[in-house]
C-alpha cells in the first residue's frame, strides 16, 4: 500500500477505465474521489455500482457531468438523469439484480469462473445467458465482473491499509476491494497500526493499493 494525494490517485485513472464504486444511494461512496474525477474530467467511464444515487450525490455526479459511457447497476430509479440519458441513448445502462451484481463482483474477487443462481430465471434477465440444471432445478450461469479500479470509502484505515467500514456504509466496499486490478481507498480516519483489532478488520491491508492522504 502507498499513500497518494487525491489528485495523483485520480490522475492514474485513464479515460475509458472501468470503475467499481462503493456505496448505496451514495452512502459509503468516496465523494472526494468522485469530485476529483469530475474535476479532471475523466471520460467514457464504465461505472459499476449498486445504483447511480441522486443527481449531485455519489455516482450521480459522474452521470450529470456526462462522464459515464456505461453504468452497470441494480437500480437507477432515484436518479432521473440516468433514466433520461439511458432513454435518449446517451448512456448505456446494464441492469443487474442486486444479489447477482454483488455476487458477480465477489466471484471475480474470489477467483470463481461463475456461479448458478435462480434469480432471473423466467424473466428478461435470462436473455442471452446459459442455463444449467443441478438436481432437477434450473439456474442461470452468471459470470464474474471485474474492473480496472475500485474506489472504496472506508471508515478507518491504518498505516498498512487495513480497513473497517461503518454501519450501512459498508455495502459494496469490501467486495469491490477484492475485484479490481487497482484499489484506491479514501478513509474518514487514518490511524496507526494496531488501533484496529485483527477481528475488526474488514478489508486486509494487502488488498489496498493506494490510500488517499489527508490534505
Amino acid at each position: 500500500m502507498r499513500t497518494i494525494t487525491l489528485e495523483d490517485a485520480v490522475a492514474r485513472i485513464p479515460d475509458g477505465a472501468s470503475l467499481m464504486v462503493g456505496g448505496f444511494m451514495g452512502v459509503g461512496t468516496p465523494e472526494c474521489i468522485v469530485d476529483e474525477l469530475v474535476r479532471q474530467r475523466k471520460r467514457e467511464l464504465t461505472v459499476i455500482g449498486n445504483d447511480t444515487a441522486l443527481p449531485g450525490v455519489g455516482i450521480g455526479k459522474l452521470v450529470s457531468a456526462n462522464l459515464v459511457r456505461k453504468a452497470i447497476a441494480s437500480h437507477i430509479g432515484l436518479n432521473p438523469e440516468t433514466q433520461k440519458k439511458m432513454l435518449a441513448g446517451q448512456m448505456e445502462v446494464e441492469l443487474v439484480p442486486q444479489g447477482t451484481l454483488i455476487e458477480r463482483i465477489r466471484a471475480a474477487g474470489y477467483g470463481l469462473g461463475g456461479f448458478l443462481t435462480s434469480t432471473g430465471v423466467g424473466t428478461v434477465v435470462e436473455e442471452g445467458k446459459r442455463k444449467v440444471e443441478v438436481e432437477g432445478r434450473e439456474y442461470l450461469l452468471e459470470v464474474p465482473l471485474r474492473a480496472d479500479f475500485a474506489l472504496v470509502q472506508a471508515f478507518l484505515a491504518d498505516y498498512l491499509g487495513n480497513l473497517t467500514y461503518a454501519l450501512t456504509a459498508r455495502n459494496f466496499n469490501p467486495v469491490i476491494a477484492m475485484a479490481a486490478a487497482t484499489v484506491i481507498v479514501d478513509a474518514e480516519h487514518i490511524v496507526p497500526v494496531g488501533m484496529i483489532s485483527p477481528d475488526q478488520v474488514m478489508t486486509p491491508a494487502p488488498l489496498v493499493d493506494y490510500l488517499v492522504s489527508r490534505a
Binding site: V27, G28, N50, A73, L95, E103, N171
Partner: protein, 216 residues
C-alpha cells in the same frame, strides 16, 4: 380506514416473533407500524442492516445508517450490519422468513410483475428479483385495482419479477392465497362481498369454502 392502512395492518398479522422480514418500499414499509407490542421482528434493510429502527429524532440522524432508499434510519439494540454479499446471502439463501413487496400485476399462478413498465418506468429491479426468488414466503401488498383496472390478471402483461409464485396477496378488498399454481380467495375486507372482489379481479379465483372477514 384507507386502503394502505387496511393492507398494512392485515399483513402485520402474518409476522411472528423472531422472524427475519424484508419490507419493500411503499405500502410494505407501513407494515412495521402495526406489529403487535411485545413481538420482536428482525427487519432487514438490503443495504446491509438487520434491526432497522424508526426514523431518528431530529438532530440524531447518522449519515452512515440508512435504509435502502438512502434515508436515515435508527437501529434497535441487537442490530447487525454487513456487506451486500451477506445481505443477499440472507435473501437468496432462504433465511428471510417473509418479504413484503409492492406489485403492479399478479397472475393466476401467483407470478408477480413489479419492477418495470417498458418504455415508461425502468428503475431497475434492485433487490426485487432476489427477494421473490429467495425468501421463504412472499407477500404482495397492493391495491386491488389501478385506475379501475384489475391488477390480479390472467397473465401478466408486464415483465415478470420471478418465475416463482408469490404466497399471498393482500389488497384493501381481499386476501388471496396461492398454492400449487392456484389462486384462492380466502378473506374479504369488512363490508366487502365475494362478488365485489370477483368483479374487481381479472384472474380466475377459487373461492374458499369459508371466506373469512379480514382481521385488521
Amino acid at each position: 380506514m384507507d386502503a394502505q392502512t387496511i393492507i398494512a395492518k392485515r399483513i402485520a398479522l402474518e409476522l411472528r416473533d423472531g422472524m427475519l422480514v424484508n419490507l419493500g418500499i411503499g405500502i410494505p414499509t407501513l407494515v412495521a407500524n402495526y406489529i403487535p407490542p411485545g413481538t420482536h421482528i428482525f427487519f432487514q434493510s438490503e443495504n446491509g442492516l438487520i434491526g432497522t429502527g424508526p426514523i431518528p429524532q431530529e438532530g440524531l440522524a447518522q449519515a452512515r445508517l440508512t435504509d435502502a432508499g438512502g434515508r436515515p434510519v435508527s437501529a434497535i439494540p441487537g442490530a447487525s450490519t454487513f456487506d451486500s454479499a451477506m445481505s443477499f446471502g440472507l435473501i437468496r439463501g432462504g433465511h428471510v422468513d417473509v418479504t413484503v413487496l409492492g406489485g403492479l400485476q399478479v397472475d393466476e399462478q401467483g407470478k408477480l410483475a413489479n419492477w418495470m413498465i417498458p418504455g415508461k418506468m425502468v428503475p431497475g429491479m434492485g433487490g426485487a428479483m432476489d427477494l421473490v426468488s429467495g425468501a421463504k414466503r412472499v407477500i404482495v401488498a397492493m391495491q386491488h385495482t389501478a385506475k379501475g383496472k384489475p391488477k390480479l390478471v390472467k397473465r401478466c402483461t408486464l415483465p415478470l419479477t420471478s418465475a416463482r409464485s408469490v404466497d399471498l396477496v393482500v389488497t384493501e378488498l381481499a386476501v388471496i392465497a396461492y398454492t400449487v399454481g392456484r389462486a384462492t380467495l380466502v378473506e374479504t375486507a369488512p363490508g366487502v362481498t365475494v362478488e365485489q372482489v370477483l368483479a374487481a379481479t381479472e384472474s380466475e379465483l377459487t373461492v374458499a369454502p369459508q371466506v373469512l372477514s379480514m382481521k385488521i
